[in-house]
């Protein structure tokens, strides 16, 4: 029960953070990605704010016995910089740059009842499923 409450509260706070920083707005994110044009550096400050809060906590807690409401901490043990990481991240960046949506803001923006957000999220879900399907046939993905 407690893990469910933690999940919904974490999601809400995350969504509030995306709203306060306006990262939920693709136009704002495209401003950051327009490095060689009219550049809006705000996204760097969002990342800095989040990292300043989470890095010390990760550092202090990752070697503790266990989280409050789960049996253990689950952190990816992958270390190598492999082909999947490079190709996947490169592909993600192209999609991100086309619209200005990454997964968090896209999901959160469903709250704003914009039809385009719905189409984006459905296509993104399609992308997840397609990859899962291809995973079985050609590309072996290391699941974390």
């Amino acid at each position: 029960m407690m893990s469910k409450i933690v999940s919904v509260i974490s999601g809400i706070i995350f969504g509030v953070g995306l709203s306060v920083s306006n990262m939920i707005n693709p136009e704002k994110v495209l401003g950051f990605l327009d490095l060689f044009g009219q550049w809006d550096p705000s996204l760097i400050f969002v990342m800095l704010g989040a990292i300043i809060v989470s890095a010390p906590v990760f550092f202090l807690y990752r070697n503790k016995n266990k989280p409050l409401f789960a049996d253990n901490f689950s952190i990816s043990t992958l270390k190598s910089i492999d082909k999947n990481l490079i190709i996947g991240s490169g592909t993600f960046g192209i999609g991100w740059g086309m619209v200005g949506f990454c997964p968090g803001p896209a999901i959160s923006s469903l709250a704003l009842l914009n039809t385009y957000s719905v189409f984006f999220v459905l296509s993104m879900l399609g992308g997840f499923l397609l990859t899962k399907l291809l995973d079985k046939i050609i590309i072996p993905i290391q699941h974390t």
Binding site: F14, L18, W39, G49, A50, I51, S123
Partner: protein, 137 residues
């Protein structure tokens, strides 16, 4: 390069709030708040499915609570055409799945953990995104 629309205070404050969400999810459930992972796992895995689904519901409730309590309208604009939106959605889904993470998983959680994989991923997706904007913008 011209610097425009720069909002450092609200960006930094929003970032701190996102960081709080990350640490609550980590200390409480022992997991990293990587959104692409949470959403794709909800689709294809039974493990933690309820938790994942509730996190997604929370993500959608966040902006609603924000607007309700602050009475501030959230600026929001999508300009690309529908075919571009659908292509971009597919690329984001496929790319984050193959690359095991997105802006939150690699860019915030992974960098906070000083993961070399995540630092590399973040540099790569930022470069390809900036090039994409340069080419089609």
């Amino acid at each position: 390069m011209n610097i425009v629309n720069f909002t450092p205070q609200s960006a930094f404050l929003g970032g701190i709030i996102i960081g709080l969400a990350v640490i609550i999810f980590f200390i409480g459930n022992g997991r990293l708040a990587g959104i692409s992972g949470i959403v794709s796992a909800t689709l294809v895995s039974k493990l933690n499915r309820t938790d994942n689904f509730l996190f997604i519901i929370g993500l959608v409730l966040g902006p609603i609570f924000y607007v309700f309590f602050t009475k501030i309208n959230i600026p929001f604009l999508i300009t690309p055409s529908l075919p571009i939106i659908i292509t971009a959605g597919l690329l984001v889904g496929i790319g984050t799945k193959i690359g095991s993470g997105c802006t939150s998983g690699h860019g915030i959680c992974g960098i906070s953990l000083l993961s070399l994989r995540s630092i590399t991923a973040t540099i790569i997706f930022m470069i390809t995104a900036i090039i994409t904007v340069k080419l089609i913008g």
